[in-house]
């Protein structure tokens, strides 16, 4: 039997401290938490930044390090600092050193790095070792070199290699959400179908229970099944809450692809052990012919500046769509004429908040809003051009009349200046897998000793 304690869906989301204490009292074999995702957009991978405040990360990570010391078992984090690039991993190592020093703790830390060298990938592409998933943007050597960061997603094998170093803490770069959970049960001989199924169910902590905000759950893996037990006293796992989690953020509710194979839960059974625990079994693991890891890459696409103007007069609200189109047309022509920029090197887009800003052309509802916000988004190849275009747009947003013979109106800017520099923009440009000869080929493992020789 292997017990995996999952404190929450991601470091930074918070957990119920009493539930974490209950989890430690239930004697886990390992504590596993996810640190990231692509779900906040390409900015984080593009820049290597974390989406959370350093203080939030340090506070939660400190609580988990203290819980780990009490339990005397390994603590594993995957996808450190949102994007899981090498720089992100280094930041979490630094935070770990600071906390260890404060606690007077001596630790062995295994660090798994996942950032890819573009030259290696260019060679892999030429050798036919990069395969597209569906749908995949076109790639080339040039596109690979345009990426500011490319990571490969580690799987269970790489986390197992990190655990084999005897480290008390594993800090991994980009890793599949499930691999940090499945690694130890697989190592201890649990059925791989059960190990991966339990890992998928538990990847978001208490999201598979009736109280998602409580965070902490225990996954107990047996030879051919697993049990979910929420650690918050008022949370319950039910066959519905557990099995419904297979749908979460997954295009196919029965199949989950991982490095080295895929999970198939078509024949899984979910059974209530009592009012708050569920046991699942029957999932199968299908090994793949070749060992592949998924790639994620983000490339810079230019710079953006946004402006916001508010429209309150009913006749302006009623005419807003035509007003926006007219401004887009005139301002684009002005940019070409006055700044000498080619039409395909910039864009100006006006979205009407209160009308169809969220769904755009897909919106079907029509209403009669009291007011509208017009969000103008300017993009250009460099920051100076984006700023200049946004300032060129400024008088249009403030004064553009509609109809044309209207005396010059003034609309409402909420602040001065109305332009907000959004900085560099990025886009995800890889939906591909990389074929490896052996699992560690694209990854690097380092062992760091901290705090040794210190008092305490």
């Amino acid at each position: 039997m292997v017990r995996v304690l999952v404190p929450s869906g991601a470091l930074g989301l918070g957990h119920d401290p009493d539930a974490l204490d209950a989890g430690i009292a239930a004697r886990p074999d390992i504590i596993a938490i996810d640190g990231g995702s692509t779900d906040s957009g390409p900015h984080y991978l593009g820049t290597g930044r974390s989406k959370y405040a350093r203080a939030t990360t340090a506070r939660e990570w400190g609580a988990l390090m203290a819980a780990r010391a009490r339990a005397g078992v390994p603590l594993v984090i995957g996808s450190a600092e949102t994007c899981g690039t090498d720089r992100a991993v280094d930041r979490l190592v630094e935070i770990t050193r600071e906390i260890a020093a404060e606690r007077g703790e001596a630790l062995r830390i295994a660090v798994l790095r996942c950032t890819q060298d573009p030259d290696d990938l260019v060679r892999a592409l030429a050798a036919g070792r990069i395969h597209p998933l569906d749908p995949a943007p076109g790639i080339s050597a040039e596109r690979l070199r345009q990426c500011s960061n490319i990571v490969a997603l580690a799987g269970a094998e790489q986390i197992q290699a990190a655990l084999a170093t005897g480290a008390q803490i594993v800090i991994a770069g980009r890793t599949t959400d499930t691999a940090i959970i499945s690694a130890l049960p697989l190592l201890r001989g649990c059925d791989p179908g059960a190990a991966w199924h339990g890992a998928k169910i538990g990847e978001c902590g208490a999201l598979c229970t009736t109280r998602p905000d409580s965070g902490v759950i225990m996954l107990t893996f047996e030879r051919n099944g697993f049990t979910v037990t929420p650690m918050a006293r008022d949370a319950a796992a039910t066959p519905f809450s557990v099995s419904a989690h297979m749908l979460y953020e997954n295009a196919d509710p029965f199949i989950l692809h991982e490095p080295g194979g895929h999970l198939d839960v078509s024949a899984a059974r979910y059974e209530a052990l009592d009012e708050r625990r569920v046991r699942a079994s029957g999932a199968i693991w299908v090994p793949a012919q070749r060992y592949t890891v998924k790639l994620e890459g983000a490339r810079p696409t230019g710079f953006r500046v946004a402006s916001l103007v508010l429209i309150r007069a009913p006749r302006h609200v009623a005419a807003a769509a035509a007003w926006c189109r007219d401004i887009e047309r005139r301002a684009r022509a002005d940019v070409c004429a006055r700044l000498g920029l080619a039409r395909d090197s910039f864009d100006i887009e006006l979205r009407r908040i209160g009308q169809d800003a969220t769904l755009g052309a897909l919106e079907r509802r029509r209403g009669d809003p009291v007011e509208l916000g017009v969000l103008a988004i300017v993009s250009a190849r460099d920051a100076a051009a984006a700023g200049e275009i946004a300032r060129l747009l400024n008088p249009y947003l403030l004064h553009h009349p509609l109809p044309a013979d209207e005396a010059q109106p003034s609309l409402a800017f909420a602040f001065s200046p109305p332009e907000m520099a959004l900085g560099p923009a990025h886009e995800f440009c890889l939906n591909h897998v990389l074929e490896l000869e052996q699992p560690m080929q694209a990854f690097r493992l380092e062992v760091i000793e901290v705090g040794h020789g210190q008092a305490g």
Binding site: T38, G41, L247, A357, L362, E427
Partner: protein, 103 residues
């Protein structure tokens, strides 16, 4: 006629990675599941999302009284033109769809 969202317990949409969008309809009862399953036509759903019908992946899951529809994201997450990074607003398109009364 009734709005789908008024017949079922929950409609939610999420990214399934940056390239896919997935919509989950939790119907809440056997009767609501049967009604929505029969009323929901793939061609109509494809039209709502301006997506080729062949690109929709649909799963009718009786054990959960749930219907899941996945499709390539209308715009790759976070790319120029994306209006909803987490994709949660797309659920409204299905929730506001009119479906016929029980026959």
């Amino acid at each position: 006629m009734a709005r789908l969202g008024e017949v079922v317990r929950q409609v939610r949409s999420k990214n399934a990675g940056p390239f896919w969008l997935t919509v989950d309809i939790f119907c809440g009862s056997d009767a609501a599941f049967a009604r929505v399953r029969d009323a929901l036509k793939d061609e109509e759903v494809a039209r709502l999302f301006r997506c080729a019908p062949a690109r929709l992946r649909r799963f009718d899951i009786a054990s959960l009284n749930a219907i899941k529809i996945s499709l390539p994201r209308p715009v790759v997450q976070g790319s120029p033109g994306d209006r909803d990074l987490h994709g949660a607003s797309y659920a409204n398109l299905l929730a506001e769809m009119e479906i016929p009364d029980n026959s």
